[in-house]
């Protein structure tokens, strides 16, 4: 069986190279009041990932929302060993930028196409933030349009 692959180009937010399994949500994530940093789980009541762990995942999401405690909460995930392996996001804010910096995980934004359309939870993703390249190995086939971005 052939495996579908795709490549995205984007801008480095925090440098580094890492690979892992994708966890994708189309909903923004709250830090304070939205995650449990010692468990590495989403806790927000109405969030589609409520109860799901982001530990060691390539977190693909629109960005941050809510309280200014975002960076400090995600900073504590690094101390607790529950941080994601990388962040790929589409909306730049001060919250997510500072959070990515203090989590010290490879992070990217400003993609040539929308990672939320292309990547699905469970895909294997290699992030090379230094070169601004994301390689995706898809677990389920996608349409040709998504693969090529045409």
């Amino acid at each position: 069986m052939s495996v579908d692959t795709a490549v995205l180009k984007g801008r480095k937010v925090v440098g580094g190279v890492v690979e892992g399994e994708a966890l994708v949500t189309r909903q923004t994530i709250s830090g304070w009041g939205g995650i449990n940093p010692t468990l590495g789980t989403i806790t927000e009541t109405r969030h589609e990932l409520r109860g799901v762990s982001f530990k060691d995942k390539i977190l693909v999401f629109p960005g941050a929302k809510g309280s200014s405690g975002w960076s400090a909460m995600f900073h504590m995930t690094r101390l607790s060993g529950t941080a994601p392996k990388a962040l790929l996001f589409t909306e730049m804010t001060t919250k997510v930028a500072l959070g990515a910096v203090v989590m010290r995980v490879p992070s990217m934004t400003d993609f040539d196409r929308n990672p939320l359309d292309l990547i699905e939870t469970g895909d294997w993703v290699k992030v090379d933030a230094d070169r601004g390249i994301v390689e995706v190995r898809m677990i389920a086939p996608r349409s040709a349009a998504l693969r090529t971005g045409s």
Binding site: R11, V13, V14, T28, G33, T38, T43, E44, T45, K65, G66, S67, S68, G69, W70, S71, A72, H75, M76, L79, E91, M92, T93, T94, K95, A97, L98, G99, A100, V101, V102, R104, S107, D110
Partner: protein, 428 residues
């Protein structure tokens, strides 16, 4: 990023190790944002050096456990412990988790309270103003129009940008602590003119009067514009208190960091000026149907009408609001099955004490609490199943954080609930 000679000098360590580490963090942060430069700031509101049992334990095991260790390794995200000097820019400490007088009532652990007192003394020693409030603008920190600030606390950020016309992004703990030592913050987002223009026009075709009305309008705006900048058009008379509740609500349901009210707020002499001549992305009507839908959203987790707990003071109550609560309670007592806690800053409480308002609250069976709130301290009276609130922001957070029901209504509805033990608020 392009750095000035002064900034390069800090980065090279010529102004000491701590300022070097702070500048390193600001450069990493500025580059992450895509900022081109830093901007000078002399007004910082953060939580520098603040400790809690988690951080105290962690940095006891990794780094020796003193306050310089927490500030260096957590606040500045440095790999090296540095000696932390005095603040080089005016800095105030926002809300914390412990009222120095009522921490036991709020169920705090003696260990947690002791840790918080020690970190407070440490940072006060570095020249930080211990305001301990989410409303620094009611406790002595009022920037002027055009000032570049570095503030945390979403409700204070939206007030600072919209009502005062000063300029701040929603900063975080690490960026405000780095700004405290350098007087610099990335020149990005709301520091730049072009990012302060309106995006969505909200047409309001009826009078918005009570604090509850303003809270609902704010909650609606946040839901429809998300992170963008709403411009309100209608007949408005809003005082400071109404702006405070509107902005806090909009920053909770969405990520609103700035809004304009045509003819009212400082950067919106007219609707056209608020949009800088551009067209609105969308024109949205707020009428009775929208108001009712917002009320229903806010009250979606309330069912039982027996009220165990009434919380006022999110954002922290002003002196006028405390006075208003005292007057509504005049000649009445808080019900035996209900508790009423009113939250404010230490500065406002000092005046409330002098005015005799704190005593009158106590005589009615209510408690005036400082520094924190039920969501931050994760504190409600033991056994609370149902709360009553006059703040859309607190209604957004508290039921999820404490797993309780919450009613949202007017301050009068809340005082009535405190006195009778029952919720009798009316859907608009």
């Amino acid at each position: 990023m392009k750095l000035s000679n002064e900034e390069k000098s800090m980065l090279d360590g010529k102004d000491g190790k701590a300022r070097q580490k702070a500048m390193e963090l600001l450069v990493r942060y500025g580059e992450a944002l895509g900022a081109e430069r830093l901007v000078a700031t002399d007004n910082i509101a953060g939580v520098p050096g603040s400790s809690n049992p988690f951080l105290a334990k962690y940095y006891h095991q990794h780094g020796g456990g003193n306050h310089d260790a927490i500030f260096s390794l957590f606040d500045l995200d440095s790999d090296e412990i540095v000696e932390v000097p005095k603040a080089s820019a005016h800095t105030c400490h926002l809300q914390g988790g412990y009222d120095p007088d009522n921490w036991q009532l709020l169920g705090a652990s003696p260990e947690g309270f002791k840790i918080s007192q020690e970190s407070e003394a440490y940072i006060a020693g570095r020249g930080v103003q211990i305001l301990k409030t989410c409303t620094p603008y009611l406790a002595g920190n009022v920037p002027k129009k055009g000032d570049h600030c570095a503030w945390m606390e979403s409700s204070a950020v939206v007030y600072c940008n919209s009502v005062i016309g000063a300029r701040t992004n929603t900063e975080g703990r690490e960026s405000t602590s780095a700004a405290m030592l350098t007087g610099k913050i990335p020149d990005w987002g709301f520091h730049l003119d072009e990012n302060r223009l309106g995006s969505h026009l909200i047409e309001v075709d009826f009078e918005i009067e009570s604090v509850m009305d303003w809270g609902m309008l704010g909650y609606f705006c946040g839901e429809v514009v998300g992170e963008k900048i709403p411009v309100l058009n209608g007949k408005f008379k809003a005082d400071l208190i109404r702006h405070k509740h509107f902005g806090a609500a909009a920053a909770s349901s969405g990520g609103v960091e700035m809004y304009h009210i045509a003819g009212v707020t400082p950067e919106a002499p007219s609707v056209e000026a608020a949009f800088g001549g551009r067209k609105p992305l969308e024109v949205i009507k707020y009428g009775l149907a929208e108001k009712r839908r917002t009320y229903d959203n806010l009250n979606s987790r309330a069912k039982d009408t027996d009220v165990d707990y009434v919380m006022l003071g999110c954002p922290h109550y002003s002196l006028e609001q405390i006075q208003g609560a005292v007057e509504l309670l005049e000649g009445k007592k808080v019900n035996a099955n209900t508790q009423l806690w009113v939250f404010t800053s230490r500065a406002v409480k000092a005046v409330a004490d002098a005015q005799g308002l704190s005593k009158r609250l106590r005589d009615s069976g209510a408690v005036l609490v400082t520094d924190t709130c039920s969501s931050i301290a994760q504190a409600v009276p033991p056994g609370t199943k149902v709360a009553a609130l006059d703040s859309a922001k607190q209604t957004h957070y508290l039921p999820a954080i404490m797993n309780i029901q919450a009613w949202f209504g007017t301050t009068q509805d809340c005082i009535n609930a405190a006195v009778t033990g029952r919720w009798n608020g009316v859907r608009p």
